[in-house]
Structures are given as C-alpha cells and as structure tokens.
C-alpha cells in the first residue's frame, strides 16, 4: 500500500488527473452552454470522435497542430450544426436526434479513417510535444490551459452578460423570451454549435495531445461521462470544473492502482463517478438548476 503514496506516484496522479480531466472539462463546458439554451445534445461521443479524427487527419496532412485544432473545432461544429438543424429548426425529438448523430459521428469518423489510412496502425503525427505550453517546469498542454480558462469565460458569459442571461432564459421559458422579442433560434444555434466546437476540441486532445494516435473508439465513453458531469455539476460552470477534476482524479487513481500491486479492485473506482452522479442527482432534486425546458421543442403560437 505504501508504494501508492510515494511522491513519484502522487505527482503522476496529479498530471494524469489534469490530462484526463481536460477533454471532459472541454466537452462538459460546451454541453453546459448547449443545455442552458434548452437543447440536450446526446451526441457528444460522436462529436468528440469527429473532432479527434478531423484534428488528427489535418494535423497529419499539414504538419501543423494549429491547423489540426481548427479542423477539430470545425468537425465538431459540423456535426452539431446538423444537431441544431434537426432539433431547433425541424424540432425533432432531441434524444432521438442526439442518439442518431452519435452513430453518424462514430460511423463517419471510422469510415473516413478506414478509407484514408487503409487500416494502418498508428501514424506518426507532428508530435504531441508541440501541444505543450513552453513552461519548462510545467509541461502542460495548451488545450488544458484553454479548458481551465474556459471555466470563468463560460461563467461570465452565462451569468454576467445579457446574452447569456437571455440564453438561459430561453432554456427555461422560450415562450416568455419570444414574447419579448428575444431571438430563440439564433441563441439555440449559437449554444449548440459552441457545444460542438468544444466537443471537437475535446476529441482532438485525445488524438493530438494525449496519444498522437487515432483509432475508432478513441473516445471510449468520455462523451457520456461529460454528459454525466453536467448533471453532477447541477448545470453550474464551477461545479462542472469540480466534477471534471473529480472524475479525472478517480480515473487517474484507478490507473495508478492497476499499475501498483495493491490488491483493490480498480473497477470500484471506475464505477464511482457514476455512483456519485446518481447521488448528486438525488440530493439536487429539490434545488436542481436543470433548464426547465430542456428537451422540449418550442413551437410558436402553441398556447
């Protein structure tokens, strides 16, 4: 047991926590903004895969990490734009649309990957290292910095700007906003596409910043965890940060446990985040911040 508490292991867990939390935090913050406008985007998994692939492909072709990141954002935006078209404009059931796009995102990424790389294994891409910020004592990826900076940015946007207030109002009572001339459609599009860009970047962190690889199930459930984090965080930016770090920490500890010879089932730690989410849901029930119109399409004049 003692070898788990050596400084090397603890430092390892610290870095691993940040590394694991980064894509979760990026995707969850995007989803937070999206859900605040009343649209539940369940296609995070597919959108992140799309971002991971687009980032990987473009970075590989151009040799530029920056171009890869831009491509990842565009890839995520592309998929979420379809989401917005279906749910905001066509008013399709959001759960159905989200699940369908999930499959589409995973399928497209896999299809393009196979047709471009012909099932080759890993392909060398212009180094994970260029993702790091140039602080020698602090080898932290740019995207991790971005993820943490986005916490106050999203908070200020949602709670300190009129646009954010109106966006949240749309999520609670679109009819009230419509009556006052607040554009519902534009705000929901902005929110959904923002969520898509963030999910795309989150995906690219895994292919560009973490492994330098792309493989079809590279996201392996992180999209769903990000959705759980939004619930765990009770739709608050600060608690989404806490949730991401907690989930990251538990995962990192679990990995360290597997590597050590401590005889403790790591599956317990793997399951813990989800248990915590359920517990948080139960305790938040009476003062939940869930957007009141989440998943309910708004039809003008249906009164």
């Amino acid at each position: 047991m003692e070898d788990l508490f050596t400084s090397a292991v603890l430092v390892g867990i610290f870095w691993a926590t940040l590394r694991i939390a980064t894509p979760l935090l990026l995707a969850a913050l995007g989803e937070l903004v999206c859900e605040s406008s009343g649209i539940l985007n369940l296609s995070l998994e597919g959108t992140m895969t799309m971002g991971a692939f687009a980032g990987f492909y473009v970075a590989n072709e151009t040799g530029s990490i920056l171009a890869g990141l831009v491509a990842a954002g565009i890839g995520g935006a592309f998929l979420s734009l379809i989401m917005a078209l279906m749910t905001v404009t066509a008013k399709v059931n959001q759960v159905v649309a989200g699940l369908a796009l999930n499959i589409l995102g995973l399928g497209l990424a896999f299809f393009w990957y196979r047709s471009i790389y012909e099932a080759e294994g890993s392909i060398d891409i212009p180094t994970v290292e260029t993702m790091q910020a140039p602080f020698e004592f602090f080898p932290i990826p740019w995207l991790t910095i971005l993820a943490f900076v986005m916490v106050p940015v999203v908070w200020v946007f949602l709670y300190r700007t009129k646009y954010g207030l109106e966006l949240r109002s749309v999520g609670h009572n679109p009819e009230a906003c419509d009556m006052r001339g607040v554009g519902i459609i534009s705000r929901q599009y902005v929110a959904v596409v923002f969520g898509g860009v963030m999910a795309g970047l989150a995906g690219s962190f895994l292919s560009l910043g973490s492994t330098g690889l792309f493989f079809p199930d590279i996201i392996s459930g992180r999209g769903w965890i990000a959705l759980a984090i939004v619930i765990f965080g009770n739709w608050r930016a600060t608690w989404v940060l806490v949730g991401s770090l907690l989930f990251g920490f538990l995962e990192a500890t679990q990995l360290a446990l597997q590597a050590s010879d401590v005889d403790l089932p790591y599956q317990l730690l793997l399951a813990l985040p989800f248990v915590l989410t359920i517990v948080a849901l139960v305790f938040n029930r009476s003062r939940s911040n869930v957007p009141l119109s989440l998943t309910i399409p708004y039809h003008r004049g249906e009164r």
Partner: protein, 508 residues
Amino acid sequence: MTETILAVDRVTKRFPGVVANDAVSVDIRRGEIHCLLGENGAGKTTLADILYGVYRPDEGSVTFRGETLELHTPRDAIAAGIGMVHQHFELVPPMSVVENVVIGTSASQWLDLSEVRDRLNEFFHNYDVEIDPDAEVGRLSVGEQQWVEIFKTLYFGVEVLILDEPTAVLTPQGVQELFRILRRMRDEGLTIILITHKLKEVMELSDRVTVLRLGKVVGTVNTADVEMRDLAQMMVGREVLFQFDKERSHPGEAVLEVDGIHLASVTGRGSLKGLSLSVHAGEVVGLAGVSGNGQNALFDALVGVEQPSAGAIRIGGVDIAELSANRIGQLGMASVPADRIAQGLLMDFKVKENLVLGRHRSNPFSRAGVLNRSAIDGFAAESIEGFDIRTPSASQLTRTLSGGNLQKVIMARELSGEPRLLVAHQPTRGLDISASEYVRRRLLEERDRGAAVLLMSEDLDEIFQLSDRIAVIYDGRIVSETTPEQADLESLGLSMAGVDTVEAGSAA
C-alpha cells in the same frame, strides 16, 4: 380625455376552421380603462394578441396615435408603446425579478443590474407593493408574480397596458388592491385594456366596455349607462340565470371523513398541515381558497395518488390509506381533476376510449381481459347523447374537442357509476358561461341524487351558488367554515388571505 389613442378598424383574423375576429372595430381612448368582455372563444385574447404583435390581422388595420400600426413581433408593440400581461405569465421562474425585467431590453451586454434594481424599487415603493427585486420569481406568490409582470411591462414606458384576465389568480382583497393601483395608473395617464369575462369587474372598474361574441363586436357602451344584466345578455346572446333554483339539501350520513391529514408537497408550497373535513351524503361542500394552499395535495390524497404522512381519510367508513386509486374508485368515489388535459384525459385517444377510461377493466367493457367493443360503443353513444357532448363521432380524437366538451367527457365518465362521493376540482375553470352552467347543474343533480359533493373552486360566485356549506382552505388547513347564508364576501376573502380568523375575544 376623449382623444382616441388606439383604433381597431374592421380587423379580421382567421384560424383553421374558425374566424376568431370578424371585422372587429374598437376605439380606445387615451387614459381610460376599457374592458373587452366576452365568453371564451369570443375572440378577446386574439384581438389583444393582434394589438400586441403576436398575430397579424388577415384584414383591417390598427391605428395607434394617428399612425397605422405595423407589428411583426411583441417587441415592435413594446417599442411602439403597447404592453401586455398574459393570462399565464411570461416569466422565467428560476431567475430573479430584476433579471426577468432585463430580458429583452436594450440594456448593455455587460449586465449591470443596479440601475434596473433602483428603478424597480422606485416603482414598487411608488405603488406600495412590497417585492424584493432580487427574489427568485418562482418563489413569489402568484399575486406578486403578476406585479412583476405588470412592472416588467411598464418598465418599457408603454402608454397602453393590456391585461388578460388578471384577476383569475387573486383573492378578493388582491383584486381590490389591483383595481386600486390600476385606477391610479389610469389617473396618471396610462391607458388600460382589460380582458375579462367577469361582469362584476367590468362594472366596478371600467370606463367603457366593448362586448364581443363569437368573434364579432356586439357593441361598445359607457359602463355607467348599463346594468350588469344588459352586459350579460350582450355577452351570451340570451338571458342568463344568475341564481340556480336550488332546493334545500337533506344531508345524510358522512361519506367522506378527512381527519387531520398531513402531506408535504415536493416544492414545499401547498402542503397539507393537519386538514380535517367531512362531506355528507346529499350536500355540496364548497372548498374556497387561493390556489397553492393545499388544494392539489388534498385532491391527490383523496384520489389515492399521494399517501398522507399522518391522519386518515375514510370513504363510507373505510380507511383508504392502503388502497390504490382503482380500489378507491370502487368505493364509489369519482373525481374531476383541475387540469383536465393532464390528469383527466388521454388527448390522443378516441372520445369513446376516454369515456370508459378506468372502468375499461371491468364488466361489461371487458371480458377475460379483452375489450368489448360493442359495449363501449353503446355506452359512448349513450353518454354523448346524455351529456350533449359535441363531437362528430365517438371515434373522434379527444384532442380536437373544445374545453367545455372535454369537461363533459370527464363528467360523463365519472358520473356514470352513480358515485357516492364526487370530488370536483375547479370544474368550470376556463369554461364559458353556457358550459359552466351545465356543469354546475350536473353537480347539483348529483347532490339531489344523494351523492356527497366536494367542490374545490377559486371562483367564489360558484362556491356561493352551489354550496350547502363553505370551508376555507389556507396554508394546508381549514381555517373557517360557514354557510352561504351566513358568509359575506369580505370575511371569506380575509380567511382566504390567511388573516387570523380566531375570535379576537378569546385572547383577551
């Protein structure tokens, strides 16, 4: 004073299947309180929504301050100087009063709420309304929410304020308070258009009144020149009975006994805190109260959807604590829920299916678990005839029926088993005069047949008309009991508002 500020000229608005406004012309004068009076479906709200930019007229025009009004959205109307408070509020409950006011304004993108807060405080102070601008709107009482709605609209500096049925949610005192302030606002130069179907309010408040019927203007009159009876006749198109000829009741044994029940509601508002009540065979007990004082919890407890945490409910002497809603029904309990669409009907089912809902499991409607179509069809035909349900056929989708006919479907179903106990929650809310009359007569017929009837209503006129005894519910308890003969509106209103009704003498 006689200058026309807003002129509606032969406005027609059609919806699929109906002409909501048919060449309607009205002129509104600056600084008057003008009532739009009419039954449900008369086209009052549609007309107001046209003035507020929600709908565009198919024909005709609206002139405001001498210029033709071209409205595309409510925002245009507000910018022009016309504001509206809808019947159900356009508020965002989880947000504060100030935040609700800021939504949609031209305030800068960086939220600075202090200026709005100051102006609101000034407003509230000016009109003696006590509301904390930072309070969460969802936690305010319905009356307070209405103030927020009104001030939210006035914040834009509108010249014309349209109010759609503003008194529906208020106590008699709340109504007086509202009227007092509306008169003051009028005297300060505001033009007020009030939509209502309540004659008393028209008589009390308005300067002039325009009566609408079936989308057409019947006429515009000075309130001072007419009697209530004239307006009623204009509104309905025939003479209206204001009083039912009700025979004396002959109460029998207690059918419903509610004994000190407690039931916490999820939101914390409207919990039951030791409510006791009894209803005897052959009498109507009217339960008066402002909504949110436990009526919903009581209804849920009676029909068996919720289980009280303490106390007991007995129907015909049988404790229903452990019984399912279905078993309670078999004890002879029938219920008419307040929200007929959410709780009373399956809107996407056929009328005949809704007519047997709940009884579909037993003879003759099903045999060995298979529905007996001919029995259902026969019963449906009988009910549609007997209750005068206006539907093209028994197989019509329930969704397509009007509110009054929906209620008749529920009544037909619930009364078909000749219940010993009938619990009716807001049975005439949203119904027009004719449908309300029908429902009320049916309730009295049930009483005369010997059923115990518990009538939960926010409409005091209805309570007075139908009840043999009146109980007032406030904060989850019965705070006073009286009879229609002894009661007066004022003391009843005070009990409803929770003003202490314990005799002052006992303390001294």
